[in-house]
């Protein structure tokens, strides 16, 4: 299939890339634009490791075609703090022990961010629902829920 020239606005920066129409946002972010914080795990929408935020909503980038999301605000984990200066939500993940192998963490943090941006004081059930599509084998989720609630408290 012929490449299409598209414009993607990622973390506030406009990128122009040539992509075949069947290329997923996950592939374009990682392979063409270098946003490798977006993790490639199941590739079929089961695990949530590739979660990004598009126009304020948590979205699976492995099930999103790159050509679909022109003109939209795409946020990846790189939009938050870096390793030296984590933002408050990332710091809560670290402090609460919500990070182990770290492979699910960027997607988990972004699902949490999408929740907190829309609902800064979520109930426990709302936190659980927000990460129900993000799988984690290491933690058993309790510390992830705790981290998101901790961030909500610190943000208020």
């Amino acid at each position: 299939m012929l490449d299409q020239l598209i414009h993607l606005k990622v973390n506030g920066t406009l990128h122009t890339v040539a992509v075949p129409p069947h290329r997923t946002l996950l592939e374009v972010l990682r392979e063409q634009l270098g946003y490798t914080g977006t993790k490639r795990a199941c590739r079929v929408g089961d695990c949530g490791a590739c979660t990004v935020i598009i126009d304020g909503k948590a979205v699976l980038s492995c099930l999103t075609l790159a050509v679909e999301v022109q003109e939209k605000e795409i946020l990846t984990i790189e939009a938050l703090g870096d390793g030296d200066r984590p933002d408050l939500l990332q710091q809560s993940f670290v402090d609460c022990g919500a990070v182990q192998c770290g492979f699910c963490t960027p997607g988990m943090v972004l699902s949490a961010k999408a929740l907190l941006d829309e609902n800064p004081q979520p109930e426990r059930e709302e936190v659980r629902r927000a990460i129900a599509g993000n799988l984690c084998r290491c933690t058993g989720y309790a510390k992830i829920v705790e981290a998101i609630e901790d961030a909500a408290t610190r943000l208020s």
Binding site: C101, G102, L135, K143
Partner: protein
Amino acid sequence: MSEYAVLGKRLPRVDGPVKAAGTARFTDDLSLPGMLHGKILRSPHAHARILRIDTTLAESHPGVRAVIVGEDFGDYRYGLKPDTRDEYPLARGKVRYLGEEVAAVAAVDEDTALEALELIQVDYEVLQAVTDPEEALREGAPLIHDDKPGNISVHMKTSFGDVDEAFRQADYIREDRFYSQSVLHGFLEPNAALALWEAPNRITIWASKQSPYFLYRNLSNCFNVPLSNVRLIQPYIGGGFGGKNGGYPVDFCAVMLSKKSGRPVRIVLTMEEVLSSHRRRHPMIVWLKTGVKKDGTLLAHDCRIIADGGAGTGVGPSTIANAFYFLNLPYVVPNVRFDGIRAYTNRPISVAQRGNGIQQIRFAADVQLDMIAEDLGRDPVEIREKNGAYTGYKTTSGMHVKSCGLRETITEAIRAAEWETHYRPWREKMHEPLGRIATGVGIACNSFESGARLTGHNCCTAVIKVHEDGTVSLLTGSTDSGQGSETVLAMIVAEVLGTRLEDVFVPQTDSSVTPVDPGSFGSRVSSTAGNAVLIAAKDAKQQLLKVAAELLKADPDTIEFRDRKVFVREAPERSLRFRDLARQTVAWGSGTTVIGQGSWGQSIPPLNFETGEGDAGGAYSFGTQAAWVEVDTRTGKVTVPRMVVAHDLGFALNPLAVEGQHEGSIAGGVGHTIYEHCVEENGQNLTPNLTAYGLPTVYDLPEEMVSLSIETIDPVGAFGAKESGEGTQVSTIPAIVNAIHNAIGVWITDLPVTPEKVLKALRDKKAQARATTEGQP
């Protein structure tokens, strides 16, 4: 002031910030200029002879740079021991399981590589497949390996004490059959490798390996390259749990494709490939006969197991041996007989998974112990307290228990579980009607080896470099696959040198730089590498002390290192900053370099795969778990809203990391008990994605998990520490199964506990009750 400045504190992990920021690089995040993408062609049959492979079309496909098949690797085979080398990088002559690797392609992008796979023509002669281990052992069953008669991969037959006499003396004997299913490691990062071959004979490989030095040796042998020329650099690892130990086809193929194409090659498996064809936990059938006295005292186990090994041996001998070892602990069982067979089948290869062989055996033994308690009208807590091992106990088979807090773990677990309030034996509530939601509680105990002792190279080594600005580098070959060992080892360095955790940097394993290490398995790292790090840190400290004594004009024995300061203990005002000491030491005399070194290995004989005599590890952890369950009697669905782990881990080096291990253990254990399964039909995988497979989501796991650490200060482990990340998954299954019985009065002996099995068990129970009533006059 606590005895320790750093250890024992809830310190967040050192790699937390980069992981939360997404800047931690995993294998799939790495690329090199000119890199090609590799893909693997897999067998569509569970058992077939390969008659012909034609790669001509694939090779001429535009964008393809290399195509390889089994012949490219010559006769190279790999495996744990010389007599168990039954795996090929790519199939030779035959395929033995669905999805076995047959050929591989490197191309300019993944799409091209996938197209090329479709152009490889393979002619198969389909053979009868045998996917059931009992079928595989029957006479006349199709042979999976021509040189392995009877499809026997491992057979361990052993006995200690006088089992027959013990059964003669027993007041009560029970025999049951248990089955534990096939479950996967469940890591989210699929196996991946990026390889670069440089002529004439240098290999550099970035691969997701929890025990990278297995692959380092494998590659040296496979490619006939000296070990000094194998550079294995370990990126961050997205979970391992036993499924990223050795070399796998993905690694060998990446190197061979690079060698053939002259370009770097990266292969990243899909989750479907992992779920269909990668290694997994041994499915196991356990027949267990147990004899007890009237008061519940255990006299003997007579145990037979058949493990489904899949088409290769892997680390199978250690799995079977572990099953035997942990018939002997956590309870005192004076007479034990064991007959364990690991059968070859036409299924993916079974290997170690968090608990390696022990989950399956403790599921059987600890559920049967509850059955016995119920039969004898005894209390499940009391029967465990009565039979529990203790400090100084030596099993009949020769395992030495040097520290044991089992009884304390029972006490703490039932206290946290509010056992007295919630537990009523089934026999007391069996006549009450079951409501829509029936609730129950259950407990089970565990023990686990803290630092497995394998054959061959066994010790861990650490090298500590003190930089002139007072920061420190710790070089270790022990990898952190997510469990937090990097943080814990760095804490040991900071404690001994009196620096802060953030002053210690632990570069990731690089076989050209870091010392050779057995790997992160058998709960070795904190206990074994921990001791090596302790020795190395003391060595570095000694070198600094000499200069400190001169500068402070004090006897070295009176000098203390703490919180970035070096001072005279009785006169703290006589002090200097650690960084100043480092700088002065480096410039002392004609100059020096502070490098500490330490090696440590368990001073016990290697695991005995033949008789099981002796120790399984340097020390043993002990623990108790309690589970609450809710059983929906209309749908059969079981949920576990709350779970308690009380674990004798010797000493909690970092309580935050320990809690993470306990909670993660519960997650894997609950998954194994209730949700996870590989469903296969005619050799085809019907659960090729994480949803169908059943990896638990946040809604599937206990909302409340209580983690309690019992500290017994073990004489062997570093600072008295024992393992806390594997034993904790061993008793999750029986605690839940016992709780289910307590809720609805049925024993589920066949995992996983699906709603169908629960409903069937309830129906059978009702029918049986009706038959009994009708049968009465």
